[in-house]
Symmetry: C2
Subunit: 216 residues, 2 copies
């Protein structure tokens, strides 16, 4: 999940925006530390200056990763999510009021926000799909894992799996419609657990990640 294309950081460095840059203060976050909790009172917006920050929903012992933000991405603390530094990271932080100024002066601000929100929304739809079809999802990933163990070919990039069945046949095997199985396969791709390599051909970069999905 890569969000960065145009970089908000470069934009903010423009000399004419020096005033604007000053409303942000820098905050260092150690690897593994939670930068923001969903129940914090502060209503802040942060830009990733360096490092990577995982955005996730956490309920009791369950966690759902919504995305990994990289340099130039921004997000807010009042969205009900946890923000965890995956590596030593540096954040530019400011309050929501100050951001409203940025919004008019730096159009890239809103565009970056739309892009990040769109990505996170997309991932949340994947999570909803997986949860709504937990049964079928577990059976599908268990089937793919077993097939990859049995017939997969090891390569430098991971395990290559060539399915001997069509999506139609796979759906019948799972007792689900073709559309549901397609949706769940797309979810696996979006989550980076599988990569499509052609008709019925897949790459599984990390077999352990697939196995964990099957056990949920």
């Amino acid at each position: 999940m890569k969000f960065s294309e145009i970089n908000l950081l470069d934009e903010l460095k423009r000399p004419e925006l020096a005033d604007l840059h000053n409303i942000f203060h820098q905050r260092a976050v150690a690897k593994g530390a939670i930068a923001f909790h969903p129940d914090a009172d502060e209503n802040l917006v942060f830009i990733i200056a360096s490092g990577r920050v995982r955005i996730y929903l956490g309920f009791e012992d369950k966690e759902f990763t919504l995305g990994v933000l990289e340099a130039g991405d921004l997000y807010s603390t009042h969205a009900g999510c946890f923000a965890q530094a995956l590596e030593e990271s540096s954040l530019l932080v400011t309050d929501v009021q100050s951001v409203k100024r940025c919004m008019s002066e730096v159009p890239l601000f809103n565009r970056t926000m739309v892009r990040v929100l769109g990505q996170i929304l997309n991932n949340s739809f994947s999570i909803i799909g997986s949860l709504a079809f937990q049964d079928i999802y577990s059976r599908l990933t268990a089937f793919l894992y077993k097939e990859a163990l049995r017939t997969g070919v090891q390569t430098d990039e991971g395990t290559e799996l060539r399915l001997a069945v069509t999506t139609e046949q796979l759906s019948q095997h799972m007792g689900a419609t073709r559309q549901t199985v397609s949706t769940l396969l797309n979810n696996l791709v979006r989550e980076g657990i599988m990569q499509k390599r052609g008709r019925s051909a897949w790459l599984i970069p990390d077999m352990e990640a697939l196995r964990q999905q099957a056990q949920q």
Copy 2:
């Protein structure tokens, strides 16, 4: 779920934006009709000119409402959602390329997008919470429904329920943490099924809607 505050429609009517207004074409949608399917090839953006449009995820026989858009709200067709007119509606439709022009000329465009995406994201988090705790959620709503039937007071606005237990006690009763029960109660409020009226006091506008939650 009301999205509208500042109105993009008014903005687009400004005389200096006449050119911009012309890139949109109007599309009428009958009450109950699906305006857009998630698997459509078209990559469009639409603004609600009049009426109300429900945005939802649909999988087999399951539907999850993400929000109801009103006049001045905008959304895109490539987000994997269904868009259904809840009443006779009129949409202003254009392709994504044309919208990129709007984005720089009409800052309100992106701001509206951020607001709508934020709301839909918020609702998707509620859905994830409810699905992840389906068990507790069903038991909680079943408990609230029974209590409201037993002790609720009928008013013009709905059924008033005064709980004799604290959230702490309610959590123990459900075998969940206080935080999970709070989250699920917040979900019920966000979905409009309950309204908070004070400490342990709630209004249930529609008992049937609460009953349906309990049965999921």
